[in-house]
């Protein structure tokens, strides 16, 4: 199993665990946790898509990467893809915001109904 496949497989496991948790659990807090785990899996997936074996982080701090003045063709052969990493950075922050909002709703619902069982909230059911 190559390194890249290992990352993809771990991402798949995290996504499936999170999805199963969100779909099967009856407790609202566990469902939120499931979403958070799925979030982590998606982040790992995006980061691993940009991963290229044997290359270093996209930080140019080594003068040897600046071989030909200005062109940096050397660096393009030696670093991993910076774009998925930038996307993951955005996704993590958005994930924090979404999780916080979900937890706030859970707190509110618990204060109203006194239970965390998702089956107990029947008002929007038809």
């Amino acid at each position: 199993m190559t390194q890249g496949t290992l990352y993809l497989a771990s991402a798949l496991v995290l996504i499936l665990v999170g999805l199963a948790c969100a779909l099967l659990k009856r407790n609202l807090l566990r469902m939120v946790l499931g979403f958070a785990i799925m979030d982590t899996g998606v982040h790992l997936l995006i980061a691993s898509v940009g991963f290229i074996p044997g290359r270093t982080a996209p930080i140019i701090d080594d003068p040897s990467m600046l071989a030909d003045a200005g062109t940096l063709a050397v660096a393009a052969e030696r670093v991993v893809d910076p774009v998925p990493q930038a996307l993951v950075l955005t996704a993590i922050v958005i994930g924090v915001g979404v999780t916080a909002l979900m937890l706030a709703y859970v707190v509110r619902l618990f204060a109203r109904e006194g239970t965390l069982d998702v089956g107990a909230f029947r008002r929007l059911k038809w």
């Binding site: 499936l16 099967l24 898509v49 290229i52 982080a57 393009a76 910076p82 922050v93 958005i94 204060a111």
Partner: protein
């Protein structure tokens, strides 16, 4: 039981689709956009950390949107957890519950918080000031600063945070981000432009990469105060529930 079976089938479908798409393999070379960023990023922005160059400069508008989303979610949490005077559930918390919550944190936590607060905020500031040189940046540094505030709140539940200062810090840093973008629009002809606005400086120095560190410091201040406000609202909501 029916739902459980449907869920298992759905999960298997997700796994199958995933492996079908993943069997194409991940690219072994940089894509054309990434290659352009890597080859020209240093020349155009003078920032060592190319991820920061992408986040703050090339996709800077997305980052402005991202900061806005975080702000909206904090506002949403504050709205959902707001305390109403006529809230009937305010009396629900039992007396034992309230007593348990009013117990002060242990001396270890209190002393640790007092000792660590300064270094943690300083470390957060270090991370967002060096965002263009090392792994890290405004969001990461802001999260470290917010965790210092969390420690403070854990050590003393009754402590009131300086709300006026925090909302001013948050508003001004958000405003500053837009102003920096508009300065780029006015001087160099594109929103959040970096080249041609201020001197770019020397590669791999603290004062380099033009406006990128300026923007990341603003983002760090904004994220730090936003997350601190979020934690404060959540812990206060908990206390409000107990009456």
């Amino acid at each position: 039981m029916m739902g459980r079976a449907v869920t298992v089938v759905l999960l298997l479908c997700v796994a199958g689709l995933f492996w079908y798409l993943a069997s194409a393999g991940t690219p072994a070379e940089l894509g054309s956009v990434s290659r352009r960023y890597v080859e020209r990023g240093l020349e155009e922005n003078r920032g060592s950390n190319l991820v920061t160059s992408v986040v703050v400069n090339y996709r800077g508008l997305d980052t402005l949107g991202e900061v806005t989303v975080l702000f909206l979610s904090v506002t949403g949490v504050a709205f959902v957890l707001r305390r109403r005077r006529d809230d009937e559930d305010a009396t629900k918390g039992s007396a034992a519950d309230a007593a348990r919550r009013s117990v002060p944190a242990s001396e270890l936590v209190q002393t640790g918080a007092r000792l660590l607060l300064g270094p943690m905020i300083l470390f957060g500031a270090y991370i967002f000031v060096h965002g263009h040189l090392t792994p890290g940046g405004g969001f990461q540094g802001g999260a470290v600063v917010a965790s210092a505030v969390l420690l403070l709140l854990l050590a003393d539940r009754k402590r009131a945070l300086p709300h006026g200062l925090m909302s001013w810090l948050e508003s001004l840093s958000g405003f500053g981000f837009v102003v920096v973008g508009l300065v780029g629009l006015g001087v160099a002809g594109s929103f959040l432009a970096n080249r041609g606005v201020v001197p770019l400086g020397t590669w791999n120095r603290l004062f380099s990469a033009g406006l990128i560190p300026v923007i990341y410091v603003l983002v760090g201040l904004k994220v730090g105060s936003e997350l601190a406000a979020l934690l404060d609202v959540m812990m206060r909501g908990e206390k409000g529930g107990a009456g």
